[in-house]
Symmetry: C2
Subunit: 436 residues, 2 copies
């Protein structure tokens, strides 16, 4: 049964209980890591042959040759005709909104000239090639394809390759349709650490990329950690989390369903409510219990709510904001009468949902902002997936003759203070001899 | 002796030789990693006591208590009076230029309202607490303090803590002076994996931070990798690199000294020249040999130039740009008559130095852009250290009543397609019942 812990900040044991609630560490499994390393090494050494072997072994179907791993883009476009009209419309509208929001994240290159003619600047350019990992089977989410692929395309990524495992050979039509809508450039039916290996090292069939993004299971996560440095990776996500701050104006049914929508993701997902209103807290607790049992994923929900969920009675909204900053949640709902008033007190959160009409689910699918968000308290130092993750910057420095003399003197002094004589001489060679 | 490899792209063995030149992999030393893990665990378990033990063991001085690890800010300010006036002026001018450049990297928060009153946005906020690692001993570089600390302060970081080991108890006055100029908030004389542990877990003396930045030795790098996730980290830098593209208009003395300025960093640093001009190539080779032996760090330079350096004759400047993109160098000098003409052909480089007056050394110290740059081909997907590394973003979503109905329908359709019923219901609860 879905039975959340009920805590109150004014009880003496609160601090210890709160610490336990947050004390989640995603243990890295040594066996998983070694298995991922072995597969990566095999892909590096044997390329396509290793992909075929791993696919036969783990995915339950038998590709005849590497050509079988390639999904024709026509096949993806055909999926658009196979799915329902309502679903196709929904995907297209979601994609349009995601595109429109992320276009505002584009950053221009800039440069400026100083008085002596020295030019300084920052050039922003897209990544050449990006690899998108999309889980297969039951966790195949077209929304996740849109969030990653549309964002990469808005950034201007030249070539976006997608991999997805096809357990027993089955391809998910929603995933294919989302790839077609987002403009993915190539698709391969391969998954696991072997797909990450193909992206990192390249094979005859799958070209190496510059960055690998997208969620995956423990083997995929371990492989991404291992290839990091050779290629870029996005964050390695932990379990999903929601924190709801609610006051008496909140609808307990909505609050409870929002908590449950997080809990249905997986057993480790975390849903927490902070409220100063005891009556609301009790109503939400009741709703949680009642609604949880009606859900198709009732078993997952019950484990998540009972194991990691909590309803916490706080003294006031200020205290709620303080706790929210300690939690630094992936999703933060401000289900209060005046959400704007709380906003300045919130320092860390992946996405902030304002007011009673804004369910997290809208953000998950179609509001526009990205649903790939920092988990496990990393919102203290990291950001939602964005256009900036698919671009990189280069500094531009063009020093004029005068500038070389002026700046050269500073550089010579500092280089000698650091004991770097060649640095000093290289600056000195550009200092005009005839000037004082 | 400094004897660079000489290659030419029109020879049949070039491709293999070029691959070998780039095939550097920073092997992670298992023993170093285990040692770092042990130290981290000790700091986590015993706090200050572990810091004191490690300092006694590795740093060759004997702190009486944890209070001895604290460097008073007055002491840092006093260092400003102890160093030479020229050095102080140079540090202050460099800091002012770094500040001025990085102020242009600040990004504003933004939001916009849609027709139905739905508000979407992106809030940009600084990190709360950042820890800056500064190496001690011979690699103590005040310029590195400025590049990290000024940038963090421009971003608005609330509290910037600095750690630096003090071998045999010695503090570097230039480093202290740079910290005072940059506005570092607290300084501790502790280094190695133990300092990284203090930043990650916090001790009674050193508070935990949200992100750790700054260069360090292999133990520091291993410790940073291990604490990543609990705190943010900057890139783990590989050996420094310079790539010079030069034409007949280049001064061979300047080109040679620029290559040497990279080579003097350490034995693994890589300096490469690309030119279509055979006469220039020969002159640079001669200059390299002659000048290298005059340098104080002649032994390091000789090993770097002979082991990892190369002078490569290319067919033309277009080919030079193609190779540059494959190398994706940390520093790229365009020592050609018309550098602007090459710029559009360059896709990957940490910093680009334009024209004959722009030595890399100016960028290292005082041009303004950051000298912390992506190494080992990571410029394909990552950027110079910048204000953006000390800020994070939160998405803002405030959906209006009308928006909740409009967006809710999309979300419900997609949630059901993904089999996430609680997501669907949570959106459904906000769909107005009385509207079609």
């Amino acid at each position: 049964m879905a039975e959340p812990k009920i805590l109150a900040t004014d009880t003496p044991d609160f601090e210890a209980a709160f610490e336990r609630l947050l004390a989640f560490e995603s243990a890295q499994d040594e066996a998983v890591d070694r298995a991922a390393a072995t597969i990566l090494e095999d892909v590096r050494a044997r390329g396509d042959a290793a992909l075929l072997d791993a696919t036969r072994r783990f995915d339950g179907w038998n590709p005849a040759s590497a050509a079988d791993l390639v999904v024709d883009l026509d096949q993806a476009r055909a999926a658009l005709g196979r799915i329902g009209t309502a679903e196709r419309d929904a995907l297209e509208q979601a994609a349009a909104r995601i595109r429109s929001y992320h276009e505002r994240q584009r950053q221009p290159s800039w440069q400026f000239e100083e008085e002596d003619g020295t030019v300084l600047g920052q050039r922003v350019t897209p990544l050449d090639r990006v690899g998108l990992y999309v889980p297969g089977g039951k966790a195949a989410y077209p929304s996740s394809v849109l969030m990653n692929a549309v964002t990469a395309k808005v950034a201007g990524v030249h070539e976006l390759a997608m991999v997805t495992p096809t357990p027993r050979g089955e391809l998910n039509d929603y995933v294919l349709a989302a790839a077609a809508i987002a403009g993915v450039d190539s698709i391969y039916r391969v998954g696991g650490a072997q797909a990450v290996g193909a992206f990192a090292y390249g094979t005859a069939t799958i070209a190496a990329v510059d960055k690998v993004v997208g969620p995956g299971n423990a083997y995929v996560a371990a492989a991404k950690r291992r290839v990091f440095g050779r290629v870029g990776i996005d964050m390695v996500a932990g379990p999903s989390e929601i924190l709801v701050i609610a006051d008496a104006s909140a609808d307990p049914r909505s609050v409870a369903m929002d908590l449950l929508s997080q809990a249905e993701h997986d057993e480790l997902a975390q849903a927490i409510l902070l409220t100063a209103d005891d009556a609301l807290l009790k109503k939400v607790a009741n709703e949680l219990r009642e609604r949880a049992r009606e859900l198709p994923r009732a078993a997952i929900v019950a484990e998540s709510v009972s194991g990691r969920g909590a309803l916490i009675r706080v003294r006031d909204l200020d205290e709620a904001c303080e706790l929210a900053n300690r939690i630094a949640p992936e999703h933060l709902e401000l289900a209060v009468a005046d959400p704007e008033a709380l906003l300045p007190k919130i320092r860390h959160a992946g996405a902030i949902f304002l007011g009673h009409h804004t369910s997290e689910a809208l953000g998950d699918y179609c509001a526009g902002p990205n649903h790939v968000l920092p988990t496990s308290r990393t919102a203290r130092f990291s950001s939602p997936l964005g256009v900036y993750d698919f671009q990189k910057r280069s500094s531009l420095i063009g020093v004029s003759a005068k500038g070389a003399t002026r700046l050269g003197r500073i550089a010579v002094t500092l280089a000698r203070a650091e004991g770097l004589e060649a640095h000093a001489r290289s600056a000195e060679l550009r200092i005009a001899k005839d000037k004082p």
